[in-house]
Structures are given as structure tokens and as C-alpha cells.
């Protein structure tokens, strides 16, 4: 009886199951932990592109205090950051620089488009020097509308981003 059970096929199946179990046991919680760390520690890169930066400043001020969510404003270098909040209009002069900033950031990185200008060009839909939204140059994760968005809306956008990160795949382990 026992001999019949231990065949190469069943052994294979067993090993496969074991691998699955391992993957489950290590991969999922580890991925969860990684995502947990990432979502509570979003450091936005310090790039101001237009007037929405005023409300971004207000969001990090005492009243709205995004540091409650682990978002530290006024961070020095882009090499340590993981979130680009595109704060408004991207002009044609700014666009290549924005892209460069995004490129120089380490993985993983997230993008929030803040303000009507960053989403679609907003008020400047017919201006000669403004990009119609940033989707063309950056992959946007969350759109935060408004002109400028209230800090609350920005915080809500950050919460949405956290939700999104939680659902993201942390990494293909193995």
C-alpha cells in the first residue's frame, strides 16, 4: 500500500504542494510586511511645479499634518524619496526635468497628480506652454482633483494610494 503511494508523480505533487506552502508561508506575509512598510512611509520628493505647492505646504502644516500618515515633507534629496506629488501645471520647460527627477528616483515609486492642471491641463487647456496632463510622461497612481485641491482631498488621495500599495504585488519572491 505504502509503496504504491510513493511514486515519482505523487512525490512531485507533494513537493509542489510543499513549495506552495512555503511560498504561502513566506511570500505572503513577507510581501504584506513590505507593503505595510511602504505604505506607511511615503516620502514625497520635493518638487514644486506650480501653485498647487501652496496647498501641499498647507497639507504638511500643523493643521493637516500629513506626517500623521508617515509622509514627511521637505525631504532633501530625491534619492531617498518614493512619492512624486506633481503639484500642478507642468509646462513644456518643466516636463523633461520632471521626467528626469522621476527617472532618478529609486524603485518603487508612486505618482500622485495633484490639481486640475496635472490631471488634464485644467485652466490651461489651451495654453501654448502647458502639457495637457501628466499621464503622457509619468504613470499616475492617484488623481487628486481641485484647483488647488484642499489638503483634505490630498490626504484622501494619499489614503487611496495606500490602499493601492496594499493591493500591489510587493515583489515576485523566488
Amino acid at each position: 500500500m505504502l509503496k504504491d503511494l510513493i511514486t515519482p508523480q505523487t512525490a512531485n505533487v507533494f513537493l509542489g504542494k510543499l513549495g506552495d506552502i512555503l511560498e504561502q508561508a513566506i511570500g505572503k506575509p513577507l510581501g504584506y510586511a513590505i507593503n505595510w512598510g511602504r505604505l506607511w512611509s511615503l516620502w514625497p520628493v520635493h518638487i514644486e511645479t506650480a501653485c498647487c505647492s501652496v496647498e501641499f505646504g498647507a497639507a504638511s502644516g500643523p493643521r493637516y499634518d500629513v506626517e500623521r500618515f508617515g509622509i514627511i515633507e521637505a525631504f532633501g534629496s530625491l534619492r531617498q524619496c518614493d512619492l512624486v506629488v506633481v503639484q500642478g501645471t507642468i509646462t513644456r520647460k518643466m516636463a523633461p526635468r520632471l521626467r528626469l527627477v522621476y527617472d532618478q528616483m529609486p524603485e518603487p515609486k508612486y505618482v500622485i497628480a495633484m490639481g486640475a492642471c496635472a490631471i488634464t491641463g485644467g485652466l490651461y487647456f489651451d495654453s501654448y506652454n502647458v502639457l495637457p496632463g501628466i499621464d503622457g510622461i509619468l504613470p499616475v497612481d492617484v488623481y487628486v482633483p481641485g484647483c488647488p485641491p484642499r489638503p483634505e482631498t490630498l490626504i484622501q488621495g494619499c489614503i487611496l494610494l495606500q490602499e493601492k500599495i496594499k493591493r500591489m504585488k510587493a515583489r515576485k519572491i523566488v
Binding site: 528626469l100 532618478q104 515583489r171
Partner: protein, 124 residues
């Protein structure tokens, strides 16, 4: 026996080594599990405020303050010399303070001159 004191000091070195060994895995793990994308060569340019960098990266030397480094080399020696005196002062006769005062006087003169020179930023 020669070399018996050294074991006391080796713990400092061991502490150094332990710290390095204990933290190096953080870098290794990071290397293992962090996502990596090296498709874009722009990423590995030096960071310069969203600008493609121009010019050499290592040319800023603030020679205006070079005098301070020179002074440091000399007065660092002086400061630690004073410890040789300070630690044995309890067993020294009081007259032994005279040489150190002379020593300090000479060094003060040099320091005064040096500080005067280093203040004049436009000659550096």
C-alpha cells in the same frame, strides 16, 4: 609579557567589526529583495536638481577656509599633548607648570597669527 594590554583595546575593534557585520546584511537583503530596474541610464547620473549635470563633480574646495585645516593639524597635536600633562598633573611638582605655560604661550602666539590670517578670507 609583551602585548598584554592590547587585548583591552581589541574590544573596540571587535565592536567596530560587529557593527559592520551586523548591519551589512541590511544592505545585502536590500539588494536581494528590492526591485531593481536598470533600463534607464539617466538614473545613474549624478543627481542635480532635475538637471542633466554638467562639469566635474569634485571641484568645490572652499579654499577660503583652508587655513583652518592647516591649523587643525597643528593644534590637534597640541591639544592631545596637553592631555599628557593634564593626566599626570597630580603627581607633578608645581614648578612643572612653567614649561607648559611657556608651551602654551608660544602656541597662543602662533594661533593668534594664524587666526588673524585665516580671518582675511580674500587671501585664500
Amino acid at each position: 609579557m609583551v602585548g598584554e594590554l592590547a587585548s583591552n583595546y581589541s574590544t573596540i575593534l571587535m565592536m567596530f567589526g560587529f557593527a559592520v557585520v551586523a548591519t551589512a546584511p541590511a544592505l545585502l537583503i536590500s539588494r536581494m529583495i528590492a526591485p531593481r530596474k536598470r533600463s534607464n541610464p539617466v538614473k545613474f547620473l549624478p543627481m542635480e536638481c532635475g538637471q542633466v549635470p554638467s562639469g566635474a563633480g569634485r571641484t568645490h574646495f572652499m579654499m577660503q577656509y583652508y587655513a583652518y585645516i592647516l591649523m587643525f593639524v597643528v593644534f590637534d597635536v597640541m591639544a592631545i599633548f596637553l592631555y599628557a600633562w593634564g593626566s599626570s598633573i597630580l603627581s607633578l611638582p608645581r614648578t612643572a607648570t612653567l614649561p607648559i605655560i611657556a608651551f602654551l604661550a608660544i602656541m597662543f602666539a602662533a594661533m593668534a597669527y594664524a587666526l588673524d590670517q585665516s580671518r582675511r578670507r580674500n587671501i585664500w
